[in-house]
């Protein structure tokens, strides 16, 4: 008995039954990893190992191995930090905000997107820690530990400290939200393992599922937990990039000191996050044969979010310029003139092309429903958003108030190495997730099989 709405496109295609969902999603957890998986894992671990070497060199030698100088004290490190944090935002938007808006299309993509959030935040956090140089002192620089341990109390007036609280809370709450979603699905794999006679696997997944029983009472409590976690995560995710933007906006550096920063950064974060979700999911759906669960319709909806947030970002760029001109502050005007026409003009125009012009192609239905075009554009957006952070950070400080200290930023191998480290970390973590955890939220998808699945012909 299936009822399909005639006015909405089906979210799940291929006439799947509830049992098919368990089969299709559990299969890759139960089977041996494919050759493709091993190759991908090998590449990721190589990147990780090379990056780890660079990170260790940095910790041993000090921050001097990076290309930072007296004028440009923040460059790739903080660019990468903001980039990774921004990427994380899409996962929470999909799982929390779309849950509050009752958008059922989130259900096939929220698990992988949340995993991306968690790994991206871990990658982001490595940069400020590495940037401290003396990592071991970081604990009482950033955590409120008392004076007798060697330092005064942390300064709660500083946005950098707000960032510590925002990012660590965001990471912890996202982790809990993601794990809560995994619990019923671990139980599915446990019960299948019992029926297949794999006692060890059954025990491991039972441990992970906290002994989930699927009772109506538990489900009822579980749903209210999910709703409240979504309600808590929604302002949380908006607060995180707001606070990241305050790292810049509360300073008096021309180009940073703008009240537009919080909404502009949040829109940019969601924009880049959705691009990364698309990059990852287009590969995942292909590798794990999930075309019936992550359909063209899902891709199209995500592309529409990219047009909306990309356009918000474009308007923010123009507004910044307008205010710099209209505000009549010479230093501010120079900062923006320098972005466009200074020695970093190429970074600025890469940002404009990738972030403002390229997503407008998604207005064409043919392009936003084309997987190859989507994949290419998603990578272009990722590159563009990296340039946005680079432009904001480096072009604003490389020519400061004292012309004699003007300089350029020249990255070293170790600057690149740290970025490579996070890529290795991210993809290793994502591959492990995709192998051992169900990549699609089975319980949620099962609940919409009757209403939103394509009928069997």
């Amino acid at each position: 008995m299936q009822v399909t709405s005639s006015i909405r496109e089906p979210l799940i295609t291929g006439g799947k039954t509830v049992h098919d969902v368990s089969e299709d999603i559990s299969r890759q957890v139960e089977g041996k990893p494919t050759q493709l998986w091993w190759i991908a894992m090998g590449i990721s671990l190589t990147l990780f190992a090379f990056g780890f070497y660079c990170l260790c060199t940095l910790l041993w030698e000090g921050v001097g191995v990076w290309g930072l100088n007296k004028t440009v004290g923040w460059a790739w490190d903080i660019t990468n930090f903001v980039w990774w944090v921004g990427i994380g935002h899409a996962g929470t938007l999909i799982s929390a905000i779309l849950l509050l808006f009752r958008q059922k299309w989130r259900m096939s993509i929220n698990r992988a997107a949340e995993a991306m959030t968690i790994f991206a935040v871990i990658c982001a956090a490595t940069f400020p820690f590495a940037h401290m140089g003396r990592l071991w002192l970081g604990f009482y620089w950033v955590f409120p530990l008392p004076n007798t341990w060697g330092s005064l109390w942390a300064n709660f007036n500083s946005p950098l400290l707000w960032d510590v609280f925002a990012i660590s809370t965001y990471f912890s709450v996202s982790l809990v939200f993601w794990y809560m979603g995994l619990i019923p699905d671990f139980a599915v794999i446990r019960d299948r393992a019992v029926r297949q006679g794999h006692q060890l696997r059954a025990n491991i997944y039972n441990f992970l599922s906290f002994g989930w029983d699927g009772a109506a009472k538990t489900w009822s409590r579980y749903e209210s937990v999910a709703l409240i976690l979504a309600g808590l995560s929604t302002p949380l995710v908006l607060s995180v990039h707001t606070i990241v933007s305050m790292d810049f906006a509360t300073s008096v550096v021309p180009g940073w000191h703008a009240t537009i920063f919080p909404p502009y950064f949040v829109a940019g974060a969601i924009f880049s996050g959705f691009a990364m979700v698309l990059t990852l999911l287009l590969i995942t759906r292909k590798v794990f044969k999930l075309e019936d669960y992550i359909t063209i319709y899902h891709v199209e909806l995500m592309n529409i979010i990219i047009i909306v947030t990309g356009s918000i970002v474009g308007i923010a760029y123009i507004t910044e310029f307008f205010i710099a001109w209209y505000g009549q502050v010479p230093a501010e005007q120079y900062a923006f003139y320098n972005r466009m026409q200074g020695p970093y003009w190429w970074a600025y125009w890469s940002m404009m092309t990738c972030n403002v012009i390229s997503p407008q192609l998604f207005w064409f239905k043919k392009i936003r429903t084309n997987l190859v075009a989507t994949f290419v554009l998603s990578i272009i957006v990722n590159i563009g958003m990296w340039f946005e952070r680079f432009v904001i950070i480096v072009t604003s400080i490389h020519r400061d108030y004292v012309p004699s200290s003007w300089s350029m930023f020249h990255p070293t191998l170790y600057d690149a190495g740290e970025y490579i480290f996070t890529f290795g970390l991210f993809f290793t973590a994502f591959l492990l997730f995709a192998k051992f955890f169900p990549v699609i939220n089975m319980a949620e998808v099962k609940s919409i099989i009757k209403s939103s699945s394509e009928q069997k012909h």
Binding site: D191, R195, G214, A216, R221, Y222, S224
Partner: protein
């Protein structure tokens, strides 16, 4: 857990059939021990007569604890224990303390509520649940009826569940 508990277990394929069956059998005086489903069935908790979860209250109380702790911490550290003037600003004023206060509120509310959920549902990593049918996490809805709690005989319950659309009825003893 008591030993020798006898259950009649009805298996349902469809969530709407299940929902009607639960409503009808409860009207006929059947006491249902619990229903196990692979996914949340909307309206099932009302059909079984469960009250709304009080977890939101727990979340609110934990959240308020977070707010108070964060404010206390910041005002005590920067206002009382070691007052510092940084950048010519007040050493303790509310506006710059709001971000940390907000984050701590969310952190404690989320962790407190999830912890409460695990305790209320008696869920622990090393505990195996009582399983009436392993298919209840796959695609079947499982209605468990405790024989000792009902006046009806095994056969009567079985017939009642079948008449309401159960695809099979089994027995399970613990």
């Amino acid at each position: 857990m008591e030993s020798n508990k006898n259950f009649v277990v009805g298996i349902f394929e469809d969530e709407d059939v299940l929902l009607h069956a639960v409503e009808h059998t409860r009207e006929k005086g059947l006491k249902i021990h619990e229903v196990y489903s692979p996914f949340p069935v909307h309206g099932l908790d009302e059909a079984l007569g469960y009250k709304r979860s009080r977890l939101p209250i727990a979340a609110f109380l934990f959240g308020m604890t977070g707010t108070s702790l964060a404010l206390l911490m910041q005002f005590w550290m920067l206002g009382y224990d070691w007052p510092m003037i940084i950048g010519g600003k007040n050493h303790a004023s509310l506006p710059p303390f709001i971000p940390v206060t907000f984050e701590m509120t969310v952190l404690l509310a989320a962790f407190g509520m999830v912890g409460t959920f695990f305790i209320a549902s008696d869920m622990k990593p090393y505990k195996w649940p009582r399983q009436f049918d392993l298919r209840s996490t796959d695609d079947k809805h499982v209605v468990a009826v405790d024989l000792a709690a009902n006046k009806m005989s095994k056969e009567e319950i079985s017939a009642l569940l079948k008449s309401q659309g159960a695809s099979e009825v089994n027995e399970k003893n613990f």
